[in-house]
Symmetry: D2
Subunit: 425 residues, 4 copies
């Protein structure tokens, strides 16, 4: 998941700076709250190439403000440490050489405390500068906050992945009691058809890849009223779903065979054959009513094929989501147990990201911005699929119906799930 | 490239059998003509996992008729050799276990002559059965012929890849004189806009993935009047196009760095820095007026980015192609030198496959057929991009404006090129 | 296995040239006889990096004479084809660039017939030149003949490996009836102890690594009177030998787990659990009385550990072999079924190469020759183990008690077996 | 490097327990001193498969005492944590399943402080039990101390490797001034010849692989009076030593090309072409008079070949070392800068481990002990070479002339160097 140039939000002068200062404090504080339970070691280790250490997330999000706001827009700003640009650039080729991604976990120094000091340094400088920044710089502050919110989610999923490697099953947060609810019955929601407008409408922040807004033609279809549940997924497993090539995309079948996949990531069977699931609150029984999560696009597609349905396109998904109220659900606004929940399953947002059948490609008329900021989204538009909605690990207020998340079809360490679709007629 | 269930062509009784018998002879004969210059060894070796030996193509296309027509529709048919089903099934899971794809080159036995005898056996049985086959079986014959035409092209590109591994630069066919023409000036063709119908219209044969026919919305755009030429590509190289990450998709840049890519496949520089190109007629100077070929989607996209244009979508491409007359150009109807030619560059067809910016995904309402035949197209719909048109190695008469070819974005051993597109307004 | 500079054999003038001319014809003819059953395709394909195509063996052995005898010692000799030096050099860095070893199987051209013509050209030139060659050149002819005999064995084991990849189990030669003998009882032979001389004694040809002759100290030990048999090996398997880490070297256990090893190479179980073995005469039942073959050093060592014995050192082996008559047994002197045989098992030679517990390292005082010829042996002296004796695929007359064969401990596509040893007292 | 069953040291009753109690405190304390400068993160990360985290070394050495002494010999002992046996077993197959070696760096929990508590628990239990232990158990305590001393050295070399991955070049200890001495002139020491006894003589502790003591025959030879220096190595580099295949073993040349090797590990060139070296006290100029270190066997062998010498055999090395006084030099007895030093170069011990030309194989009559303890040495006797002496990171008092260290020929993260040898006559 990557960020992109902001659609400039219209002025309103002083109140914008004040608003951003307030949000800046909120967002930056939440990041620190999320890492509060972590040790220096927890925050340092990288569990796979796709993941980054928590410390790196803390530093990289600060580097973003330091580089694009402080260095470029605040005369006389002195970098906290001149080495950090090399260490904490993620993938911006225009910003020069950088530490190799798979080696991020080698950086035992600087320590977590030093990175906290780095954050404090940047925070103070941004807050001091904010009242005097022009609109271009304020756009970058806004972009940086959305960027940091994306990294808050990655930070949680990367920590989960790291802790899952530990045979002791450590928990980041203490377990909470499971809701004793049953899954809502699955109903079909007919979506808007014919010529439908999708894409960001122009008010408020959005990433560049969410536009331009444009019309698409939709033929009759329906979306499921809720995501597929763990209980339904267990039936797919029990029916031999992972062993029958007929359900699978060819690439997916090669992945299942090559990696020995037989269940969602973090699922394991206890001695009695019951399914357990590892999460940020440790190892516990699978809740059959909660949405299934940590599945790949290949698994989502195979399940849909098995059940005789299909994945929605991202256009269908957005058309349906736009009919509903604003984003809601089980989203993140403070540190604490993070888990898809049965009682939040009916929202389009807030439980699990939903794989769509749409490849991540540019909308008609899309053009990436000039310079480093233009690298945020456009260059990732091959080989990945779009996910829509948001998850239990997505910060509240950071997404909208037009939001396009994207991952490779085999990736599943995010809180990924699926919502079924079907053709009508 | 893979085949798919046929859209049944309308009857007309006896004339259909006669027509198929005639085409059967034509197609099966051309395949043998194509391998006439090959030795037993040439026809046996597999040069990479993506390629298959010529002998395997000869056998697999025969296995297709033997299995889906003779075994399933001709009572009493005796298989030529009961082992062949294991050896020459390509990827049909429903047909059971099969020899591993990367091990196809280990089969020095059966020999090329034995495979020719296998073909003769199958040919005689099909011709004998044809007059009495029902429409379902005739559909499968028609599918088998289109399937074999696809393999004719693969056979040529696989042989080219094999011969390119040989430091002696052997030629399949003797070189012909180069046309001494200049590239036509590049002009821009405005395509149809608004609500436009695409997809197979229902008359004649088509693969399942070419339908259902459906309407799309197109905003103003133009396509180049011809493909990008070798001369233009040499300018891209000379400008450092392969060394500047700004032009490249992120996956493409990783591919360029990881594989050390610096020119199209089969290009090499002579001692004076001039570009040479290896082809089925050996090693010769690059013709600057001919279309560039053997490039990946990544290269095509980077070139378009460098020149300030973009790739067409497959919908745009089809809309423009439909305005023109039927497929024409430099296509294959007999064994002989096969090469993109400058004097054929203006056609939408017949020189090089053209990468589009469209991921290979199902059209609205697409459903794969039941059974083994349903594995032909649908299961490949992840990770690949659509190419349109046809190449100098495509058998004449085997494509149409709705034809969707598809390959992974890094693959370039086919005769792949590009045609530029741009937004209007 | 590689060759090395010859210890010059003492003169005797004219009779040496005549003797070499006679042996030259014999050796060169046997090579052609061995490939007589092969098709062009059989002779072209390379089944793994460790193996070479038969055609390559034919050409490389000819290149050896062409380069080191004809080019260097016969004024006016014209190379058959100037490209062949690049194609058919094996690993002589001093001879310049060469075709990459894992790509040898890509050379469908030149054809097998062209390589036969190359051999005829070289043969005629060598025979014409022989009467006038000086002793240095005659030494190189003798070296070339020993070199070619080594490649005769490799040619057979490489063809066996290739044919083993084919699910049809093709046989190079028709099967012969199995000898219905029982394995001889295992007895222990006490070997010479104290200060014992080993290494080539100076009469006749030997590779450089067989000297210098030197004394070693041997403490009391005994060697088994015959090699371990298939029947004994089946008992090791049945006892779980491949599943118990206690028997295995650490590297060997990693190899067993990583490669999924559970039996000698080319063994497979039929539906009733009986063991079949693929050989140059096809697939047939394992003969329990014949020596086990196609095992790695790791397997040999694990078996010895399981049975409470150990592998002999190469010094012990040579000391015992020197007590016996000259090499004998089931060795190769014409094309035909090649297989370890129960009735030949008692010889130190001629059935299977015998893994020793000695790493392949230089003898005290060893110095490699100058120039390309010096690359034959010395540079391979790390990571490999010595095998002693000879196999059913070793040409008769090409080995002696001092002969040191060597392979990496995981390699087992040669006719490799083992003879047990134990300490006395 | 691995440990092995102890040769039981002769009794002397009470004084043995007291002596062991004293040494136990010393050794266990030194380990803690060595990690004192490390953060929790420093102690957790694993920089490559061959290395282990410092925390793991701390825990594994404690697990060794807990398992083989406390569990097996102290009735009623309660394990500190029942999970630790799984986490901190290294490779003892007889002790059951264990955490995969390449995943040791995933264990951010237990923390460094928890591991320190584990150590304290084990230390107290061992000290309490010591007065009452029998000789078998005391042997295991002695073995455990030698085992821990081996891990002290690995701990330092693993930390060095980790810190070397950090572009900031963090130092474990502050740099000390370089000794401004020149390298001593290289002289040749003639060693004992004829029948010479080597191997552990029976007094004091030794690992099983150091015996049995036995006679070998040595022909006249000489060893260099000191190790090869950095200055001499720089001349090898400047002469193109890393680019000329003639100097290299075949496996070594493949390693140089495959890994892009051009200097010792941790060497880098500054902008002026001067050589810098990273060590536990940070990045500093190479001292031309100090012994070269962090070289592979391949490099050592190539250097010896380039200079017209050879590596000593381990027998020659031991024979010469036995003529000298006891081990001495620059060895480790407290935490602090650890670096080979010019002024210590003349000792056989204490600066760098010296590659020998001897493969690590059993001595005549060697038998591994029964049970888990028997896995310490014998199972590693394939593919590795012996190193002799000791390094600046070897704890004082832990080695002797018969000590056999061993590593794979490509490994060089230990303090490895070389001492030249040559034949006389």
């Amino acid at each position: 998941m990557t960020i992109s140039s902001a659609t400039s939000s219209p002025g309103r002068a002083a109140s914008r700076e004040a608003d951003l200062a307030h949000r800046f404090t909120q967002v930056r504080t939440l990041t620190l709250d999320l890492v509060a339970p972590l040790s220096d070691a927890d925050a340092t280790v990288q569990s796979m190439d796709d993941a980054s250490p928590a410390k790196w997330h803390l530093a990289h999000t600060s580097w973003f403000f330091e580089t694009f706001v402080l260095r470029d827009h605040v005369p006389g700003y002195e970098a906290f440490d001149s080495n950090y640009a090399f260490l904490f650039n993620s993938y911006y080729e225009a910003e020069g050489a950088r530490h190799a991604r798979p080696r991020r976990g080698m950086l035992t120094r600087p320590s977590l405390d030093e990175i906290r000091a780095y954050r404090a340094h940047v925070d103070a400088a941004v807050q001091a500068a904010l009242p005097g920044l022009g609109n271009d710089a304020l756009d970058l502050v806004e972009l940086g906050l959305n960027h940091e919110q994306q990294h808050q989610e990655l930070l949680l999923t990367d920590i989960l992945h790291l802790f899952a490697q530990n045979p002791l099953h450590p928990a980041v947060w203490p377990p909470q009691p499971m809701a004793s609810v049953e899954a809502a019955p699955l109903e079909w929601i007919e979506g808007p058809t014919g010529q439908v407008e999708i894409g960001h409408a122009g008010q408020g922040f959005a990433f560049d890849c969410e536009g331009p807004r444009h019309a698409v033609l939709l033929t009759p279809y329906a979306l499921a009223s809720r995501a597929v549940t763990n209980g339904e997924w267990a039936a797919f497993i029990a029916d031999g779903g992972y062993r029958d090539p007929r359900h699978w995309l060819s690439d997916g079948w090669a992945w299942v065979k090559g990696e020995g996949i037989s269940a969602p990531l973090y699922w394991q069977q206890d001695d009695d054959g019951g399914w357990m699931q590892f999460g940020l609150d440790g190892l516990r029984s699978v809740d059959p009513a909660a949405p299934v999560t940590h599945i790949s696009l290949y698994e989502a597609d195979a399940y849909a094929s098995w059940v005789g349905a299909r994945l929605p396109t991202e256009q269908e998904w957005e058309a349906v989501a736009t009919m509903h109220d604003a984003a809601s659900g089980n989203q993140l606004d403070r540190a604490g147990p993070v888990r898809p929940r049965a009682d939040a399953a009916a929202s389009m947002f807030g439980n699990v990201w939903q794989w769509t059948g749409s490849a991540y490609r540019p909308y008609p008329g899309f053009k990436a911005a000039e310079g480093a900021v233009g690298e945020y989204n456009g260059k990732f538009m091959s080989g990945q699929f779009v996910l829509r909605g948001s998850s239990c690990a997505t910060p509240r207020g950071s997404v909208r119906p037009s939001y396009r998340n994207f991952f490779y079809p085999h990736q599943r360490w995010q809180f990924t799930g699926l919502r079924l679709a079907k053709d009508l007629t």
